[in-house]
Assembly symmetry: C3
Homo-oligomer: 204 residues x 3
């Protein structure tokens, strides 16, 4: 299981970097950027843990999250001109992060005897609500409600994982395939500027 | 007790519809509207459950909430031009919802040995904070702080329930009377454009 | 220990007053101001309690918080023209409040076996996140992310407390010294208009 743990920390770091970069753009001070990086990285998992009653919440029990976020914060600050050049890699890393967070969220919820559709919801919450808290704290309408099919990718990826699990597909293969689905959906979404906007659907 | 359970689900559906309609107005996409409908419907009860330590929170333990919200979401999307015509009925339904949520919130809190004034607070939180979360996520100043005596109606309705209970009035009668009080207050508030605004009080 | 309990209630009252004054400035109604006063006063401690799993959260188990907030609310309403004249005293009271809330947050977290750096984080959360919730609910970008070295003072004060504790300094002396540090930092910060803003650093 250690590759999952490694990817979890990696995703945490990537989320933290994206939060810090947003905060710098908004001209937050050093402490403000650290706080935004922190809540972006651990916000989704924290809300999931609160809802299912897992205490203390995950990041409080394992020092590694704190360390990873601190390193990510320093990387974001000192290398931000470089990071902006690697937008495509960041996009890929971020997508791996949301895919994995969705699956991990589902797995943790299942171990708390939550019924299956709520596990899917909690998976999506784990992946998306860090970003929602970031946007609320920076006084923006949360991005996931407007621009991208961010949440949709999580829902489909999560449903894929639940389906593969139902058919007893080997665990690691299920996780990797589901994350693959999330990456594919976001890739095509960006490529074709898909969005599930009801009001300005373009059939063309 | 089954009529209470039925009304609870009904209130959940009405809150979800109001959330989805707000999201559509704000041009949120399909997933965004669903999320807003969801948090509007279950947000207040979720915060109450978190504060008193009731885990997993209510809607995670009973599939019906998920199903009702999904149906409400589809109703809101497909029938929204009709719903807007029935504003008056929606207003009545919504008021029944907040009245009942206040009473249910108080009852649940009492079963957790919370002292009586905090039970009243938790009742109001149950009824109002779904709307507060909706407004925060759509980047609005929460409506309950400005326009209506929404929260006041809940406080008075909740206090009525606690008083009737104190005098051992039969439970169903207490609940119905208290909800009736909430409906009356909001009805007269709208009728006379009451508001508890300290700055522009009109004595006329 | 009773002087700590007294200061805790005092800090709660000061935070409530600052919340109510903000709400009045924003033209919230009577109920809205009460809600803002309430969440400003108990918001930080509530989030800390949720994260470590302390249920029901603190203010629900002790009537005094409710009473203090109600009194603070009335003071804020009836004496607001006077309070505004005593801005300097309010500033001192507020700083004592955040200093004490940081230390109390750390102490409570330590009793839940949280590791030391997370205790520091939880201390800062206890002191600062009431204000963050206030700002989110009034649709402002949270003050602590932009203007003052509010959070920084808490971090340094909290670290001081942890250091003194590590060297077995007597408890009351540690608490008083740490709060003193917080007061000094904020005093000099205001005096010299320090801020940790990365973008507009002035070396002068």
């Amino acid at each position: 299981m250690s590759w999952i743990y490694f990817l979890d920390l990696f995703g945490t770091g990537v989320f933290a970097i994206s939060g810090v970069l947003t905060a710098i753009e908004k001209r937050f001070d050093l402490v403000g950027s650290l706080v935004i990086g922190f809540v972006t990285a651990i916000g989704g998992g924290t809300i999931r843990d609160l809802l299912i009653g897992r205490f203390p919440v995950g990041w409080l029990t394992d020092r590694s999250y704190f360390v990873v976020i601190l390193i990510a914060y320093m990387i974001a600050y000192f290398l931000r001109t470089y990071i902006v050049k690697f937008r495509k890699s960041m996009f890929l890393f971020d997508t791996v992060g949301i895919g994995l967070f969705t699956i991990l969220g589902i797995r943790i919820s299942m171990s708390y005897n939550i019924n299956i559709e709520n596990c899917l919801i909690l998976g999506v919450v784990s992946a998306c609500f860090g970003g929602v808290i970031r946007d609320v704290l920076t006084n923006e309408v949360p991005l996931i409600f407007r621009k991208e099919i961010y949440a949709t990718a999580c829902i489909i990826g999560g449903a894929t994982y639940l389906a593969l699990r139902h058919f007893h597909v080997q665990e690691d293969a299920s996780i990797i395939s589901s994350i693959g689905i999330v990456i594919l959906i976001r890739y095509f979404a960006i490529k074709n500027a898909w969005s599930l906007n009801f009001h300005k659907q373009s059939y063309g």
